[in-house]
């Protein structure tokens, strides 16, 4: 048994030396800028044939080996696997995680870059010419937003604040209105950037959900109205007041299914409940009944 292993190891050694010979030859031939190509080829061929022979001998020796029946007694090397100190291995998972994060960041930024370079469309505040009109973002908007949300105290409405991606200036407000509907408000400073309205049983947890329309016509309609309201209440100078009024207006939807239209006294028109709320009186109206 040991002899066989020995001869196998020897055969491997032979193979290694013959292979390295091949590399040496090619290397030296390159260096000597090949005076005689045919002789070089012959030499190479010869060496390769040696490699082949050695390889075959390894194969045959390995085939001659038989599978060990019991565990090997390898002396202290057998104790190697006992050396599994989790403290020493812990770095690996962290490394993989940070690598994944890094890869993700890379991918996202690359995608964002192509998108942005294709669409040279400028949002209202980033043109250098009308810097004057750009609403100033307060020095410490995070506290202001938190303060504002704390002070809003509406029945049957819960508001959660998220600040994804570590941006201090913008915040996501997740509004749960009774058991009726959900809304997400994306703030920049105190100014509303985007509103998404969804049903109570629809997902709004992933970032992508903010750009997916509700599956229900009612909430799609309410989202349209919310966008109008967002513009209606918009006021760069009294941003806090504007946002506060908007949220109060949004809270009036808690009775969307249970209050009939103030004008026609009916629930349904075109199979939709009164989806419009007056900006001042907050009265429920059908879209078609408001004039």
């Amino acid at each position: 048994m040991e002899n066989q292993i020995n001869s196998a190891i020897n055969a491997i050694k032979l193979l290694r030396s013959s292979v390295s010979n091949v590399f040496e030859t090619t290397l030296s031939a390159q260096n000597n800028s090949i005076q005689d190509e045919s002789s070089f080829l012959l030499e190479l061929q010869d060496q390769l044939s040696t490699v082949d022979v050695n390889f075959k001998s390894i194969e045959s020796t390995i085939n001659a080996l038989n599978v060990p029946s019991g565990p090997f007694t390898l002396g202290n090397t057998a104790v190697l696997n006992h050396e599994a100190d989790p403290d020493r291995q812990g770095v690996y998972t962290d490394l993989v995680n940070s690598y994944n994060w890094y890869e993700k960041t890379h991918l996202y930024s690359a995608l964002a870059n192509t998108m942005l370079s294709q669409n040279s469309l400028k949002r209202s505040f980033y043109t250098s010419s009308n810097k004057r009109r750009r609403p100033t973002v307060p020095v410490n908007p995070a506290q202001l937003v938190d303060h504002m949300i704390n002070s809003i105290n509406t029945n049957n409405m819960t508001i959660k604040v998220y600040r994804p991606f570590g941006t201090p200036t913008s915040a996501f407000l997740h509004v749960n209105l009774s058991r009726v509907m959900k809304a997400a408000i994306i703030l920049r400073g105190l100014v509303i950037e985007l509103v998404t309205v969804k049903g109570f049983n629809e997902p709004l947890d992933s970032v992508d959900d903010h750009w997916i329309e509700s599956r229900y016509a009612v909430f799609r309609k309410i989202q349209d109205h919310a966008h109008c309201a967002m513009l209606h209440f918009y006021s760069p100078t009294f941003a806090e007041l504007a946002t506060r009024s908007f949220i109060t207006w949004l809270a009036s939807y808690s009775n969307i299914f249970s209050e009939p239209c103030k004008r026609c006294q009916r629930f349904l028109l075109n199979n939709l409940p009164p989806t419009y709320r007056d900006f001042r009186s907050l009265e429920p109206l059908h879209e078609e009944c408001r004039h």
Partner: protein
């Protein structure tokens, strides 16, 4: 969409073409508490979920039996009692939406020496929390209960769990972790057993995974 077929019919059809995973291939073993870190470490290297730490779990499991009171009267039928297990996640965060699990485990078949693993029928059914009341009212009796805590690994379709069994008063049942290697597959997928054998080889000599003869074990206990 055509006329929806009756659910039962489509299920029976699925059963006929063997796409419902209802056979569990199983190998069992154990590892002493002192050596469990080494096993975990080795599994971490062998299994798929490398990038994250091994998944931890903590479950409560109760085993119900159905049929024994009936067979008292119909002894002639010799119907063996049916064992049903209810499994509930107890690790944080406990999410109200996480369903309970109802598991039916059939009698393990040892097979001949050539078959590398134990095979038993097994269905895993997700269900609502009312399951315990349901089973009790159905006439099932609680036979035993325990908590099981440990780590879960997977390698392809193989599932490897390294777990500690506690009595209901949180007292461990032994100084060892139970190690189970299992695959849930439709019947007729015997090739997975061979994969399992090869995987079990890789855990030697830390853990000896083998097919355990339940009948012999029961007799040994008595």
């Amino acid at each position: 969409m055509d006329q929806p077929a009756a659910a039962m019919d489509s299920l029976l059809q699925a059963l006929q073409v063997n796409i419902i995973p209802n056979q569990e291939y199983l190998l069992q073993g154990s590892v002493l508490d002192t050596a469990v870190q080494r096993v975990l470490h080795r599994l971490k290297g062998l299994c798929d979920n490398v990038e994250s730490a091994p998944e931890q779990f903590s479950d409560y499991e109760a085993c119900f039996s159905l049929g024994s009171p009936v067979t008292d009267q119909m002894q002639a039928q010799q119907q063996p009692p049916l064992f049903l297990r209810v499994i509930r996640k107890t690790s944080e965060p406990v999410d109200a939406g996480t369903p309970f699990q109802l598991r039916y485990i059939g009698n393990p078949e040892l097979g001949d020496a050539k078959r590398p693993t134990l095979v038993r029928a097994s269905f895993d059914i997700a269900c609502s929390p009312t399951i315990c009341d349901f089973l009790t009212e159905m006439g099932c009796q609680l036979k035993f209960e325990y908590t099981i805590r440990g780590y879960l690994f997977r390698k392809g379709r193989m599932k490897i769990s390294v777990s500690k069994i506690f009595k209901i008063n949180q007292e461990p049942i032994s100084q060892s972790y139970l190690v189970e290697l299992s695959v849930l597959a439709p019947s007729g997928h015997d090739s997975v057993a061979e994969d399992m054998r090869i995987f079990a080889e890789k855990l030697k000599p830390l853990v000896l995974l083998e097919k355990i003869d339940y009948k012999r074990l029961a007799q040994m206990g008595n």
